[in-house]
Symmetry: none
Subunit: 153 residues, 2 copies
Amino acid sequence: MTKRERQTVIREIIATRPVGSQEELRQLLAERGWDVTQSTLSRDMRDLRIARIPTPTGIRYTVPEAASSSEDGRATLASIFPQLFARLDVTGELIVVRTVVAGAQPIAEAIDNEGNPDVLGTIAGENTILIICRSDSARERVAKRLLSLAKKG
Amino acid sequence: MTKRERQTVIREIIATRPVGSQEELRQLLAERGWDVTQSTLSRDMRDLRIARIPTPTGIRYTVPEAASSSEDGRATLASIFPQLFARLDVTGELIVVRTVVAGAQPIAEAIDNEGNPDVLGTIAGENTILIICRSDSARERVAKRLLSLAKKG
DNA sequence: TCGACGCTTGCTTACTTATGCATTATACAA
DNA sequence: TTGTATAATGCATAAGTAAGCAAGCGTCGA
């Protein structure tokens, strides 16, 4: 009767039938011999990252898409950029950042998460990121910032 | 200032940055001139089926990955764009479209399939598409069309 | 054996979201 | 215009979820 076993059962139940609240889930678990409180379920849901989706016909919980993997917190740009950065070039309103292998995705994601209005968007490959800026001057600001971040590593 | 427009803005905000509560979303909307109550947002979230996901670092909302595609081979741009679209910016002869997670590929494919001469090509990442147009005026036409499609969602 | 430490859980309460009801805006028909 | 039906929204509050705190347990090393 470990926490891990319980969470497996929870995943199974939620994947199998519609559940509309943690209280309802609690009862379903109780029927199977697991007697816990809503508090515990709230924590389990967090551990399992189970999504709660409101629909016209009521709330539904759903298990996250398969292999959700790592990404626990989210890294700040400043914290990862210095380690992954390789070099940077610019042209027009574009910035091309070269990174170490596999470094493009995480950096691009971190850039996106900043919500910087100078940045219209990013497209990341394996070790290259294309950053599309709003304008030439925006590109200048962004490039300058990235370079200064790189130096802090 | 229609409900539909507001919901589009909501989708954009949530696809673009982390939002931890409806109250927080309310403030973000207020900054942009949308003044509504939490009640309304609760209903909007239901209409949009926006998922609420608990994580070790706090609650996060996410726009659903549109089921779409699978139906009949290739989806038309009009049929999937409204659901996957988040926001759009332009610069020079480029258009940068931000989409919900995993939305870039299908949209880019749909755009390619149209064979529009105004579009030289597209490059899609995870949630960003770069559309390279033939000229500034071509870009204008394409952007206008996409925006009108977005509103039909 | 004893105590420090860490993990898990329940209790209770704070916080967040959903909803019944009433009101106002909008569209349409008579 | 007037009446009627819909839709959208706010208010107040119910329903549901998260989190602080402390208790209970097992582990480890002195």
